[in-house]
Amino acid sequence: MTIGRIVLKSLRQHTLSTCVTAFSIALAGGLLMSVWAVKQQSQATFTGVNAGFDAVLGARGSKLQLVLNAIFHLEASPGNLSWSDFLDIQRNPNVELAVPLAVGDNYRGYRLVGTVPEMFEKTEYAPGQKFALQPGGAWFDPTRREAVVGDFVARKMRLHVGDTFHPFHGLIFDEKNQHSETYVVVGVLKPSNTPADRVIWIPLVGIQRMSGHDPKAATDVSAVLVKLKAHSAIAGFQMDMMYNKQGNRLTFAWPIGSVMAELFDKIGWFDRVLALVSYLVASVATASILAGIYNSMNERRREIAILRALGARRFTIFSAILLEAASISALGMAAGFAVYGVIVTVVAGLMRAQTGVVIDPFKFNAVMLWSPTVLIALGALAGIIPAVKAYRTDVAENLTPHS
């Protein structure tokens, strides 16, 4: 009959309060781990996603909007650039690759992005990773009404090579805005775990010359993705200064990662609030461990006195209570991992559906080590006061009525 056995018995004898308290620890721990892990992963992922480019050139406006539109395929574009603007930057000696994009249409809510074949031929969306097609597909012919579909869209819309579809006008799906043009799917991308999976890629001229679009803007583009030459260390800085400070016509969003990092800075308060909420929940849960065990000390006086009369030392009793408190916390944390799993799975799913960005919910994060440690330690700490009370139990007084 070890201390462990005594603790187990005690936990079972107070099942309801054990479960309730453990549940609140589970919530605190699960929430804390989720906030931390999701924030870190999403920040790392979002600031790391750049589709293989260094900068985005677009109409005058917010850098963030430009990046969200051109890289993450979210938001409306801040405006159009002329074809000559695209040619100008393409000719810039510091630019290795400039890829134009045009948006403005969708297929049942999934964005159509017009571009040129260089987007797939010359780009590495991540170091060493090029876009690839699933077996049986081909890249679109830039002169034909052909489409390459991102993996996520293909699965959701059940699009396969050979299928045809009509695009719809605008970025938001409206049945009434169907275009007359018919596109045929010639390829489906292999999953890249980037926003490219969430869109349908068609030739640039397809968007530019879609029926109903302004013919005067037939050569305009929504944005230009820019890759700078490797040796031009300060080129980005100088181009940033020229377009953004010297100029007032266009916006040069560079570097892409920093633009996203600034977004996370701006919303940093939100995850601090969430973290604070989880600290509060943890505090309340810890306090409820203290209260629960402390309040049970009165009814346990006799039990403690009996154990002492059987030869248990004061320190043994003290340790048993501490261990009981820590055990409740540990049980809670075990369940907390389940809570974490649920939260991050849901969040990851939402993130993927909304942005195409994939985070790995079960990737190891240091918070998975320190948050259980801290919460279990807090639980043990909460057990100190009741443990002291148990330590001080007067054996003679709490044994049977005297004869």
Binding site: A309, L310, A312, R313, T400, S403
Partner: protein, 233 residues
């Protein structure tokens, strides 16, 4: 000529005093000049409620520390020991049977008996089972105290008291909560168990029927010279 040495008593008490303070006055509850109990002896102390018998047993068990005096068990000075050592001595040497059994309600019969040995010699499951079989509860190992009759609960308490193979068993009004039939059987069981395990028995009671079973009955107030209220020191 052979020298005959007297065997050392198992329990030896001299000039034992214990007082409690209440309402500003000091109450001397125990004042025992001398008391001895031989190995394997079975002695009953007769005394009414409030005579200090329980305090006396608590002092012997090391649950309370005396104000002055000496208690030696099997040659070891219980009174001179610090609390953890007293606890250990109690766990390894003394079995205690309480009037109200004092079984732990959240533990099964077997677990209650295992508790009786866990803090001393250590858990010995087969021995615990054997003890329960000896007291006639071999088929109730997994029962909880609330599922037993009072007589059965007392038998579990007896088994528990024997669990650490004690040299001395202290029984405080062990039949106080039992009816006549159970009381007789319980007392018989206690005495037999002590005899079988080689333990001495010191039992306190005010029940004449119980006392009548003992050859050796000592009126407690003959050994305990506690006075009426003394002024505070």
């Amino acid at each position: 000529m052979t020298l005959r040495t007297r065997p050392m008593p198992l329990l030896e008490i001299s000039k034992l005093k214990k007082s409690f303070t209440a309402d500003g006055a000091n109450h001397c509850v125990v004042n025992v000049r001398t008391f001895r109990l031989a190995e394997q002896a079975q002695v009953a102390l007769e005394g009414e409620s409030g005579s200090g018998k329980t305090t006396f047993l608590h002092l012997i068990a090391g649950i309370l520390r005396p104000d002055s005096g000496r208690i030696a068990i099997a040659g070891r000075e219980m009174s001179a020991l610090e609390e953890p050592a007293r606890d250990h001595l109690r766990a390894t040497t003394i079995g205690y049977i309480f009037q109200t059994f004092n079984l732990l309600q959240g533990y099964t019969c077997l677990e209650n008996v295992l508790l009786g040995m866990s803090f001393g010699p250590g858990a010995d499951r087969p021995f615990a089972v054997k003890l329960l079989e000896r007291v006639g509860l071999g088929d109730r190992l997994k029962h909880y105290p609330r599922q037993l009759s009072t007589g059965q609960q007392q038998r579990v308490a007896v088994a528990r008291a024997m669990a650490n193979k004690p040299r001395l068993v202290l029984a405080d009004e062990p039949t106080g909560n039992l009816d006549h039939k159970n009381a007789r059987e319980s007392l018989k069981l206690i005495r037999e168990a002590c005899r079988e395990n080689g333990a001495a028995l010191l039992l306190v009671s005010h029940d004449r029927e119980v006392l009548a079973q003992f050859d050796n009955v000592e009126p407690f107030d003959r050994i305990n010279h506690n006075s009426a209220e003394e002024p505070p020191v």
